[in-house]
Structures are given as structure tokens and as C-alpha cells.
């Protein structure tokens, strides 16, 4: 069964993608963050270039920091952003 999720982008990721979010329907074969990243990277430029730098990208699921192996569920809000630089 397909799952609908919201994906948010911040800082240089947002700048390079030229957008702040995507609505993504996950195929049944994609169950975690790593799978989502592979799916996004396959969308071609500029996604491929952005997600090639995944060592510079953090992820949050429903506003909590998460790991690449963390599972995704329908309705999740997944955010990709660089290491933070506030304060």
C-alpha cells in the first residue's frame, strides 16, 4: 500500500532544490529514510546533486532528529537540513 509523506527542505538544500517541500508517495518498497533518499536522488538534477552530499545532511521525522535507518509511516513529516548554525 502506498504511503503519502511530506518532505521539507531547509537552508542550502532548499536553495539548491528551489523549493521548500514535496509531497511524496512512497512505493511499498521504500520503508526508511535511506530508501527515501535513494528515491529522491533518482529524480535527477538537482535532487541527485543535493543528495549526493548526504554526509552533510541531517534528517528529522515529525520534528525529531532521526537516523537513516529509521522507518517511515504514512503522514510523516520528513525534513532534510544541514547541520545547524544558530545562536
Amino acid at each position: 500500500m502506498d504511503q503519502q509523506i511530506t518532505v521539507l527542505y531547509f537552508a542550502w538544500i532548499k536553495s539548491e532544490l528551489g523549493k521548500t517541500s514535496d509531497q511524496i508517495t512512497l512505493p511499498a518498497s521504500v520503508g526508511d529514510v535511506a530508501g527515501l533518499v535513494s528515491l529522491l536522488a533518482k529524480k535527477g538534477s538537482p535532487y541527485a546533486e543535493v543528495f549526493a552530499r548526504r554526509d552533510k545532511i541531517w534528517v528529522a521525522i515529525n520534528q525529531n532528529r532521526a537516523e537513516w535507518a529509521q522507518p517511515l509511516h504514512a503522514g510523516d513529516e520528513v525534513a532534510f537540513f544541514p547541520p545547524v548554525t544558530g545562536g
Binding site: W12, A60, R65, T85, G86, G87
Partner: protein, 150 residues
Amino acid sequence: MARVQAEMFDVGAEFAAFTHGRSDLGGVVSFVGLTRDFSGDATVHKLELEHYPGMTERQLNDIERQAVTQFTLQAAKIIHRYGILLPSEAIVLVMAAAPHRAAAFEGCWFMIDWLKTKAPFWKREHRSDGSFWLEAKASDDLAAARWARG
């Protein structure tokens, strides 16, 4: 409760509100982070602060609560701005009150160190030589790691 806002804040008014009606506080330590007009050799015209609404408030409130618990603070408060900031404007205010000054210093320092590695803010400098997203500093990770409980 932490606050995230685009508007400038008044350090004096915030200090007054933080201590208002309290005659049990021993000492208050505050940290104010300011925007500078240079970065390396370049002139900075303005600083842009992006954040992740919702997650930001959650993280800042977590940091306040953690500081109160870990350092037995009487009160803790974080105020952080987003949007466009001009040089010399305040970016962040962190306040910690405790019966003894060591706890107030440590609690305040902990909050700003943790904020710098956990709160979802991103700075972009608009400079004489272009606009640049800042990179996170390894020194900030080291500073935050100091506070990890053994």
C-alpha cells in the same frame, strides 16, 4: 517557555520580566549573541536566519527543561530571532537563574552550547563578496559534548 520571533527583543525588558516578582533568585547569568558586520575579510551587510517552525520551539523548550533539571535552575529562558538581522542586532538571549552563581553560569553556558548544535536554525551571510550559508563548526560540537552526562 522559549520564544522564537522575527522582531527585535529588548534585553532590559526581558530581564525585568524574567526576574519580576521573584525575591528568591540569587544570580542571573545572561548570554546575548550579536550580529557582526564582518566575516573574515568580508563586510556583512545582513544576516538571514532560517528556522524550522515547530521543531525549533520544541528543541528550545527541551533545552530549557534540560538545563533546569541538570543545573537545578530557578528559571531558564531562551529567546531566538529569525529572518533578516542587521549588524549589531541581537540574535539570541539566554538567561539562567539559580541560588548560586556557579549553577547560573553553567546552566546558561549549557543552553547556548546545546542550542548551537540542536536548534534548527541556519545562518546565511549577505556579504560584500556574495551570500553564503554558514557551515557548522566542529568547535560547537566539542563545546556541546562537554556537557554530556557521564
